[in-house]
Symmetry: C2
DNA sequence: GCTTGACTTCGAGTGCACTCGAAGTCATAC
DNA sequence: GTATGACTTCGAGTGCACTCGAAGTCAAGC
């Protein structure tokens, strides 16, 4: 399907651009993770605005840092309430940030252990 | 239960030392992830040697870098076959290493996006 | 005007990694 | 000698995030 003059994208175009599957995009929407209602064409097919796509990209960033669906839903719920909740949203992201940094540190430590093991194998080869 | 004179540890001691639950330790064993058979006391209670514990620690490093159980099982299967498979094990770890580095990079990129968003909230507060 | 194919909704199914619970055993404490 | 509590096995249950499939709709191409 070709891009609409209004710059709206179909679900498969958004899937292509975000690396998520159309199934996953629908699933996220069902789970209440979209910031605003996704528009529909007369055919009832979804039409994503640039804002929608920008949000989906950020949402997938949150997912790739292992934020649970439920926490993202909280964030969205806050965001929909408007400016009054921006402090709470900032707190939520800061807390998440801390968790991500911890995760990164643990992964790096674990990677170092893997590297040590690999080095052992290299040594073994040299001594063989 | 107190530590045995032979330096063998009970499952709950290993749980304490590794941060895994006793349930998880049994589960890993059932899944064939232990390098060698875990010893038993006359009571049929597990007794972990230092080597067992060292392996459990490494195993949990592999898990915390998201190596699937099935891949760990492959590694273990190779390791049990002895020195002849050390090249294959090295390859397996190198491949895993690549994946971990990619994961780390993606998480860091995503973290940067979260940071940008947090910075936006800070700005909002300043302008308020 | 019929075919094609991309979409729709909805509920169900999948895969993974635990996590739990029941029923039983055993050694130590009292 | 019995109560306690840490263990045992085994199968089943859970939680999460998708992922799929069926049945239907609709617009565009021929």
């Amino acid at each position: 399907m070709t891009t609409n003059t209004a710059g709206l994208l179909t679900i498969s175009e958004v899937a292509d651009r975000t690396g998520l599957s159309a199934h996953t995009l629908r699933y996220y929407e069902r789970e209440g993770l979209m910031l605003r209602e996704v528009g529909r064409a007369s055919s009832s097919h979804r039409r994503y605005s640039d804002q929608d796509v920008t949000w989906v990209v950020f949402l997938s960033r949150l997912r790739s840092t292992a934020m649970p669906i439920a926490r993202i839903r909280e964030y969205v719920t806050l965001a929909r309430k408007g400016d009054a909740t921006s402090g709470a949203r900032r707190e939520l992201l800061l807390l998440h940030r801390m968790r991500v940094v911890e995760q990164l540190e643990e992964m790096q430590r674990s990677l170092a252990a893997v590297d040590v093991k690999i080095a052992m194998y290299e040594e073994k080869v040299e001594n063989a």
